[in-house]
């Protein structure tokens, strides 16, 4: 299969991107300044991320659709206000996570942002579950551009007036060059920021305008270090079919009201795990010193017994040290528990820590 290119491919090339194949797309891993600079620029100023490879699934329908989607997602969708977003997951009957996603209530139905590597399979699963009752469009005519960092609001507002009034995890339709763009105040870096759904033909123009206002392109490499510092999960690494939201320590994202009713796919397991506890759970892990423990690194307790595995690990440029997440047996998941990480045959001391590694600064109220 030929690798796909996003609408910003030429701009990435012009900006000296190093490309990598990701989920079937040619994506920029970094630009000339490198991952550390791009990461810091996002934290201190504003970074632009091409996330057009992600799926933008529009599902149209009314009351019926809400009922049908509530059988799938552990959310209180009937109380979700227009233009408000929630983080959720697509689970199987064993509560295994097939994808994590952001779902937003829009006028005609819902917009769901899906991971690139999962989107086609998600579409198939959802189509089957919804019995083709509702119109579903996995829109390939729109790009998705994220702008993240403390200066994002000011910069984007100069181009699209009014975005600065959006609250965190909410969105709205705006106009750019007379084109309808849907902008949400959200992101995956631990910074204030926005995601812009825009017709493909206008993605390049918008991005170049953001660059002209002082923002810079940031690649997938820094996106990974940013999200890991922010304690956010990456599907296929920290989340997969063999892990449930309770094990992933994401129970905050499950509606309490929906748990009490227990009428969604996977609810039996979720309720059981919430009642009886889980045997493994996702935790933050801080290695002592500078050693980097990457994905698949084995975790041992103080008696040298294997208790888990790292699922994401890198060097955090803002933390200025190594950071990691992984799953450990529940009894070793308490903060400050001493553990050992096996890297290149040697055991290195580390401790369980709370997430995030880097304190987030999301904007809660408007006009900031």
């Amino acid at each position: 299969m030929e690798t796909k290119k996003t609408s910003l491919y030429q701009l990435h090339k012009d900006s000296n991107a190093k490309f990598v194949e990701f989920a079937g797309y040619q994506m920029p891993i970094q630009y000339s300044e490198g991952i550390v600079e791009e990461h810091k620029f996002t934290r201190n100023h504003s970074g632009i991320f091409d996330v057009s490879h992600m799926g933008q699934l529009f599902i149209y329908g009314g009351e019926d659709l809400i009922k049908d989607l509530e059988k799938i997602f552990p959310l209180n969708l009937k109380n979700l206000k227009l233009n408000h977003s929630k983080y959720s997951f697509l689970m199987d009957k064993d509560a295994g996570i097939h994808d994590d996603l952001i779902i937003t209530k829009i006028n005609e139905g819902f917009l769901i942002i899906l991971n690139a590597a999962c989107k086609d399979n998600d579409f198939k699963i959802l189509k089957e579950l919804l019995n083709e009752k509702h119109k579903m469009v996995l829109d390939v005519n729109r790009s998705l551009i994220a702008i993240q960092g403390p200066k994002s609001s000011q910069i984007l507002n100069e181009i699209v007036d009014g975005v600065k009034n959006l609250n965190f995890m909410s969105g709205n339709w705006f106009l750019f060059e007379n084109q309808k763009v849907y902008i949400t105040r959200s992101g995956y870096t631990g910074e204030d920021g926005f995601e812009i759904s825009i017709p493909n033909n206008f993605a390049d123009k918008l991005t170049r305008e953001l660059i002209n206002k002082g923002s810079k392109l940031v690649g997938l490499g820094a996106r990974d270090t940013l999200r890991l510092e922010a304690g956010l999960c990456l599907y296929g690494h920290d989340l997969d079919k063999d892990k449930t939201p309770v094990e992933a320590n994401l129970k905050w994202a499950i509606s309490k009201e929906r748990i009490s009713k227990g009428d969604f796919i996977g609810s039996d397991i979720i309720i059981k795990q919430l009642t009886d506890g889980v045997s493994k759970i996702r935790v933050g892990i801080k290695p002592e010193g500078r050693i980097i423990a990457r994905e698949k690194t084995k975790i041992f307790n103080q008696s040298d017994v294997l208790i888990g595995e790292i699922t994401s690990g890198t060097f955090g440029p803002s933390v200025n040290g190594p950071v990691a997440m992984g799953y450990v047996e529940n009894e070793f998941s308490k903060k400050n528990t001493k553990v050992f990480l096996e890297v290149r045959g040697k055991k290195h001391a580390a401790s369980i820590c709370s997430l995030p590694f880097y304190k987030k600064s999301y904007v809660k109220g408007a006009n900031q």
Partner: protein
């Protein structure tokens, strides 16, 4: 003046008397990206030609560092362990990795000179 030689694994080596100083090339650092971790061999340990003699890690991945010649490690550069970004800044000079007492000087003959290495680096990265 001693000539600097280069290996196919992108190390440089400068032999002065019987002590060789070894580091990674600028080209290597450009391929690796921002280096955020470095591990060096222990002083007094013996290393074999083309064997691993350290590790560098970028934010993305870990890569082994190989020794282009055999010998006994007589010194290591703690400065690059404390601040690995020095490797990106000055790889072929102050950010050397280790010094070793060379076992067999004829191993130097198997390595490339600057022109050959530059050509090799250009061809392999194309």
């Amino acid at each position: 003046m001693s000539e600097v030689k280069y290996s196919k694994e992108h190390e440089w080596i400068k032999l002065e008397g019987e002590v060789a100083t070894i580091g990674i090339t600028k080209h290597a650092t450009e391929m690796l990206g921002d280096i955020v971790f470095a591990e060096l061999p222990e002083k007094g340990s013996s290393v074999e030609k083309d064997g691993t003699a350290g590790v560098v890690e970028s934010t993305k991945a870990a890569s082994d560092v190989y020794t282009p010649v055999s010998g006994e490690i007589v010194d290591t550069n703690q400065a690059i362990v404390d601040d690995p970004s020095k490797i990106n800044q000055d790889p072929e000079n102050s950010a050397w990795f280790f010094k070793l007492k060379i076992k067999d000087p004829s191993e130097m003959d198997t390595l490339m000179n600057k022109d050959d290495y530059d050509k090799f680096a250009k061809e392999t990265s194309a």
